[in-house]
Amino acid sequence: MALTDETDVVRTEEMLLNVGPQHPSTHGVFRMVVKISGETILEAEPVIGYLHRGTEKLAENLQYTQIIPYTDRLDYVSAMLNNYSLVHTVEEALGIAIPDRAEYIRVITMELNRLASHLIFFGTYLLDLGAMTPFLYAFEEREKIIDMFNELCGARITFNYMRIGGVKYDTPPGWLEQVDAFVKRMKGEMVKYRNLVTGNEIFLARVRGVGKYTTEQALGHGMSGINLRCTGYNWDLRKKKPYSIYDRFDWEVPLGKNGDCWDRYILHMEEMEQSLRIVEQALQQIQPGPVLAKVPKLIRVPAGEYYSGIEGTRGELGFYIVSDGKDKPYRLKIRRPSFENLQILPIILKGVPVGDMVAILGSIDPVLGEVGA
């Protein structure tokens, strides 16, 4: 029997694979519909919205103070920054001057929270790649940060700590010393992480050159934060559009070069060190004083549109308020960095093996509470 061209080759069929919403490495309830041929991904389509709670709509019926606890639940691993982004926008709209001590406490808590969030990245990313131990080390350090926050504001995750015009409480006695001791300890831990993970050949082989994209692609997809900086584009709102008191500290913006998973990983690690630097300086500069400015009990934002973005852990985190002069926003739009960062997935997942899928998704570092909002 003569072989024709069709029977000559073994015909294989693509397989449609549903990654998530219950999958250990999607960092929450995220779903990807992946078309694979063997181990290679041909097409990937992210499906978003499993954690949608309608925060933006809910906010239209809430006073500005009441929205703060809702922002805790967006990016639930860096709630301090969410708190700050909202109150910062309202403060800009109202033109309130914030007491110095409040600003320092805010910077300390925000940078500690950024550190905690990057620790989660470090731990879960290595867990995605199959190493379990870094996860537990990272979570133990995060636990220390969270315990300090617990002492400061009474909650471990959903802080609800920032208020329009300052912060809710002053620091309890001995708290700043505790932070100081933690910063010193954390520096040693960073060395340990470097020895444990950063030099590991298997780890390097897994992340070098994986999940690459260019600056143009990143900008075109509205990416920000580390996911943009890993391509070498210098864009950090703390430097470019200084808010709060970040101009008083001496620190650098670490930049990547290739835009691959390795750059994203190492930028997280370097940002942790920069955060420690900022906290250290803030601890030296902080002075006693009031922590809450005089603000009216019922906050009414004058009619108009206001936007201000801050450098969140995952990128530009902004609140866009449309006010009609009432005590509640007419419309609130939240620019959630994870949501924007995820949009590049179909492009960078094309043609990679299944094993790299989790490596790439983990390196983008999405938090699904923020994606779904």
């Binding site: 490495s25 790649l129 199959g130 131990t133 993970v197």
Partner: protein, 335 residues
């Protein structure tokens, strides 16, 4: 030939007789019990050891220091409902765990546990037997993944088939070096050959390294645990299994840990030989060191990727094992 009581224990050296058969049976049951005991406490030790590394205390609720934790876990698995999902290939789904486990238990028959190899078949082709029989497990794993009609299971099964086949080759090659030095395939004779000279780990250091790496991959342990990579494939080939069928897969994995440890101790570390202590204790210490090393690796390493794993086996390990083999042969011919 007259029959004496000692024939019960020295059945290997005598023609088969009824008492000898009974002795064999008793031996098999005892080895099975031993294997189960070792498996239970290696799981316990794994959880404790990795727990200590990770600043945890590990199992501590069931029994003193949690010693009965694994017993409780096994009991739970045994009394669980035997779930056979609809849509699975029923026959294959049912026999796959058996396919996987039986070879794992079979290979224990040639491991010389002690100086008086009571429960050890004095097999002339011992090494070959191990490599050949352990390859059967691949079928069980692959069939289990395929028959469960689950996409994750399928990928896991295929991955493990590819991986275990690829690593069988360097594993075999690394063993051949030892066989060349000892001049025999019989594991008992290999131990005896090492008793008077250096342990083969020194002259065969390259072979030893290749053996450890390939052995780790063969057992699907970190950093080569791709077939059951829980962060990628959820659980890999046994994703649809539960209850005692799942327990069988688990058992396979840990029996191989014992068997591979025994093989390593026999081939490279002089088996049961050693000063002062009794032979079985030396053997136990060596196997324990191997098992602990595996857990240590598990606590440190991330996972490799499938294509890297393959090219590592064919492009690095195999040439290394070959070179070792050639050098061994040349040295042996010259000396």
């Amino acid at each position: 030939m007259t029959w004496t009581w000692s024939n019960v224990w020295h059945w290997a050296a005598h023609p088969l007789s009824w008492p000898g058969f009974v002795g064999m049976l008793v031996g098999a049951v005892l080895v099975l019990l031993l294997a189960l005991l070792v498996v239970m406490y290696s799981i316990y030790w794994q959880r404790k050891f990795i727990g200590w590394i990770q600043w945890r205390i590990g199992p501590n609720r069931v029994g003193p220091w949690g010693l009965f934790q694994t017993v409780a876990d096994v009991l739970k698995l045994l009394i669980k409902e035997d779930v056979i999902p609809t849509g699975v290939d029923r026959t294959l789904f049912l026999i796959a765990p058996i396919f996987a486990f039986v070879p794992a238990f079979l290979v224990l028959s040639i491991i010389p546990f002690s100086a008086h190899h009571v429960f050890t078949a004095n097999l002339g082709i011992g090494v070959l037997f191990y490599v050949a029989v352990s390859a059967i497990t691949i079928h069980g794993v692959m069939l289990g993944g395929w028959s469960s009609n689950n996409k994750w299971g399928l990928i896991g099964g295929m991955r493990s088939a590819a991986q275990m086949l690829s690593y069988e080759v360097p594993l075999g090659m690394s063993i051949v070096g030892v066989v060349l030095m000892a001049g025999t395939l019989n594991l008992n004779d290999i131990v005896a050959a090492q008793a008077h000279t250096l342990w083969y780990v020194i002259p065969q250091i390259v072979g030893f390294v290749v053996f450890i790496i390939a052995g780790t991959a063969e057992m699907n342990r970190t950093p080569f645990d791709l077939p059951e990579a829980e962060s990628e494939l959820v659980a890999g080939y046994h994703v649809e299994y539960s209850g005692f069928r799942f327990a069988f897969f688990m058992l396979t994995e840990y029996v191989y840990l014992l068997a591979m440890g025994g093989l390593m101790a026999t081939l490279f570390l002089g088996g049961w030989t050693g000063p002062f202590l009794p032979g079985w204790l030396w053997f136990a210490i060596k196997v324990f060191a191997f098992i602990t090393f595996q857990f240590w690796l598990q606590a440190t390493m991330p996972r490799m990727r499938q294509d890297q794993l393959m090219s590592f086996s064919w492009k690095v390990l195999l040439p290394l094992a070959m070179a070792n083999l050639v050098i061994t042969a040349v040295v042996k011919a010259l000396v």
